[in-house]
């Protein structure tokens, strides 16, 4: 390598490291605060690490508020949510990608418009709708919509993916006598696996961390999700910072694991979906 190349390479690493530092400083702050006492957290000048490791913060944060319950609630929402999304988004995308039907263009334009629709615009009427069905303070508003296409964006993404699959597969299957549903279930779905995983990942992070919808729809603290439960540490009189940070560390672990495992598919899925067009 030439000297110039070496220098550029070093520069590249430097910039990347600076970027990583920017990203990691708050994370580091999160970690260091999760093992401190409140007194230590607010010591000024700030302490870099705890001199009195409070591992008990972790267990305390799980008991001071019913975190096991919140975890259960989150999973209770997550599983049907993911299922609904993957199933109905792929079904709908398949419909748009592979079939000609009247008004298809119009419906798909509406799907595209729904992508850019700010959720805040439909928040209030949706709330009115759910409350007239007496379903406020249940998990239904958080799950049901995902069984109706799982989000316009996901439908769009998967449709793009379907478009890249050659019709030979369909034709071969038809010749073998398979019906549309069989083709969808046994052939198409496996072929779009990377995209499905990408969609699943996106949805997982969304549901896991969503704070706003549970805030609106869940009145009973016993029904809170993890993300909403975090807000319980921010009390009316005083914020229990050490416990808040400890709870956050615990909450962040499953998504991190999921991300690590799914990373490869995630990128593959995004690359091949023809988001590029």
């Amino acid at each position: 390598m030439t000297v110039k190349r070496r220098f550029l390479r070093a520069l590249l690493y430097l910039v990347l490291l600076l970027g990583a530092a920017f990203v990691l400083v708050p994370i580091y702050w999160l970690l260091r605060s999760s093992v401190m006492t409140i007194g230590e957290i607010f010591k000024f000048p700030p302490m870099l690490w705890s001199h009195d490791m409070q591992w008990s913060n972790f267990s305390q944060s799980m008991t001071v508020t019913p975190f096991a319950r919140y975890f259960g609630n989150t999973i209770t929402i997550l599983i049907p949510a993911l299922l609904g999304t993957l199933l109905t988004a792929s079904m709908s995308a398949y419909g748009f990608a592979r079939f000609k039907f009247p008004l298809r263009g119009m419906w798909f334009s509406l799907v595209l418009s729904a992508i850019i629709l700010p959720p805040a615009v439909v928040l209030i009427p949706q709330f009115i709708m759910w409350s007239s069905l007496r379903l406020v303070n249940t998990f239904y508003p958080l799950i049901l919509p995902l069984w109706f296409g799982g989000g316009a964006f996901n439908v769009f993404l998967l449709r793009q993916f379907f478009l890249t699959i050659p019709h030979d597969f369909d034709d071969a299957a038809r010749i073998d006598g398979a019906g549309f549903f069989r083709i969808y279930w046994q052939i198409m779905l496996p072929l779009i696996q990377p995209a499905l995983i990408a969609v699943g990942l996106f949805q997982f992070f969304f549901v896991w961390n969503d704070f706003f919808l549970p805030l609106i729809y869940l009145n009973d603290p016993g029904k809170y999700t993890l993300a909403l439960g975090l807000s319980e540490f921010i009390g009316s009189y005083a914020t229990q910072w050490n416990l808040l940070m400890a709870a956050t560390v615990i909450i962040v672990i499953p998504p991190i694991i999921v991300f690590f495992i799914g990373q490869k598919y995630f990128v593959e899925g995004v690359t091949l979906t023809g988001v590029k067009g």
């Binding site: 390479r9 690493y13 910039v15 990347l16 970027g19 920017f22 990203v23 990691l24 400083v25 708050p26 702050w29 999160l30 000048p45 700030p46 109905t88 988004a89 709908s92 419909g95 748009f96 592979r98 079939f99 298809r104 419906w107 799907v111 729904a114 850019i116 629709l117 700010p118 959720p119 805040a120 615009v121 439909v122 209030i124 009427p125 919509p145 069984w147 109706f148 316009a152 034709d171 010749i175 549309f180 992070f205 961390n209 704070f211 993300a227 975090l230 807000s231 921010i234 914020t239 940070m245 709870a247 956050t248 909450i251 690590f260 990373q263 995630f266 990128v267 690359t271 590029k276 067009g277």
Partner: protein
């Protein structure tokens, strides 16, 4: 030929149409129930004075007139939100592209770096808001401590009208760039090697390669990130809700936060719905403009969408 026999015929067309509708039914029903219906309902409520407690009364376009003339917060909120949107979208795209390009240069450690940059997107917003609130504290927070030790002047960050939006933009980039970086990275990896080599053969350096090949090739993704970034930036809610309550002096009174406050805390559902519709129209117009503009510089591989 066998293929033709399988695919044509009137019976097939009807069968296909029905099957198509059945498959697409979930999202079509979803659009009707969760989008179109609510939008109509929202429009209706916006023409009333509904306050949740008593029956609504029809008041025509009074809410809209009020917003554009006598409301104390609407205009300011639009301004504040737009300021944030512009700054956030431009800076996020720029930052994400730079990082993605750098990450793309080198295979070693790419996976780890990528995970690091994505990490903030996974932190729950409640936690990161509390965290940054503390980091930004003008008297006791880490950032001012660092600035001081570097001999730089302290900042009031979230407590001063002029610095609150820039501070929130920085926090937004920290938390939101992860997705954008990953998407850019994927796109960069899809740039055909031959084209890059062609430029090299012609004597071009990295800059030429970037401008002539890379940028156009990733332009659909850039556009996609632009649109998604725009939508997301307009939705900002958690930060004003948790960190600033719209202050100081309404300098962070984000639009969705104002809507929420108006509807859920001040009991003014009619007004909030009017604000919602105005947001919808605004974003639609912006999107249409963006789409028009994109034709000038976005290159799709298989022809335009």
């Amino acid at each position: 030929m066998k293929r033709a026999a399988v695919r044509t015929g009137k019976r097939f067309q009807t069968e296909e149409a029905v099957a198509g509708y059945l498959f697409a039914a979930p999202v079509i029903l979803g659009l009707i129930i969760f989008v179109i219906g609510p939008m109509i309902l929202s429009a209706i409520v916006s023409l009333t004075d509904w306050n949740v407690l008593t029956a609504p009364h029809f008041i025509g376009i009074k809410n809209y007139i009020h917003l554009f003339t006598t409301d104390l917060y609407f205009a300011n909120s639009l301004l504040v939100t737009s300021y944030y949107v512009v700054g956030s979208v431009i800076l996020t795209i720029f930052y994400s592209l730079v990082v993605a390009v750098l990450l793309n240069q080198d295979a070693r450690g790419k996976g780890i770096f990528r995970s690091i940059f994505y990490l903030p997107s996974i932190v729950p917003i409640v936690a990161s808001s509390a965290l940054w609130l503390w980091l930004y504290n003008p008297n006791f927070g880490l950032f001012n401590e660092v600035l001081q030790s570097l001999g730089l002047p302290k900042s009031k960050f979230l407590v001063d009208q002029t610095t609150v939006i820039p501070s929130l933009i920085v926090m937004g980039i920290w938390g939101g760039a992860g997705n954008t970086i990953v998407i850019f990275l994927a796109a960069l990896q899809g740039v055909p090697r031959q084209l890059l080599e062609a430029v090299e053969i012609d004597g071009g350096n990295w800059f030429h390669k970037f401008r002539a090949v890379t940028l156009p090739m990733i332009s659909p993704v850039t556009f996609f990130n632009l649109v998604i970034g725009l939508i997301t930036a307009f939705q900002v809610f958690a930060q004003p809700y948790i960190m600033t309550s719209g202050g100081p002096n309404n300098a962070s009174l984000f639009y969705v936060y104002l809507m929420y406050r108006e509807g859920f805390q001040r009991n003014n559902m009619g007004l909030a719905s009017a604000e919602a519709w105005i947001l919808f129209l605004l974003v639609s117009v912006l999107s249409i403009l963006l789409f028009r503009w994109s034709r000038g510089w976005v290159h799709y591989e298989g022809g335009n969408q």
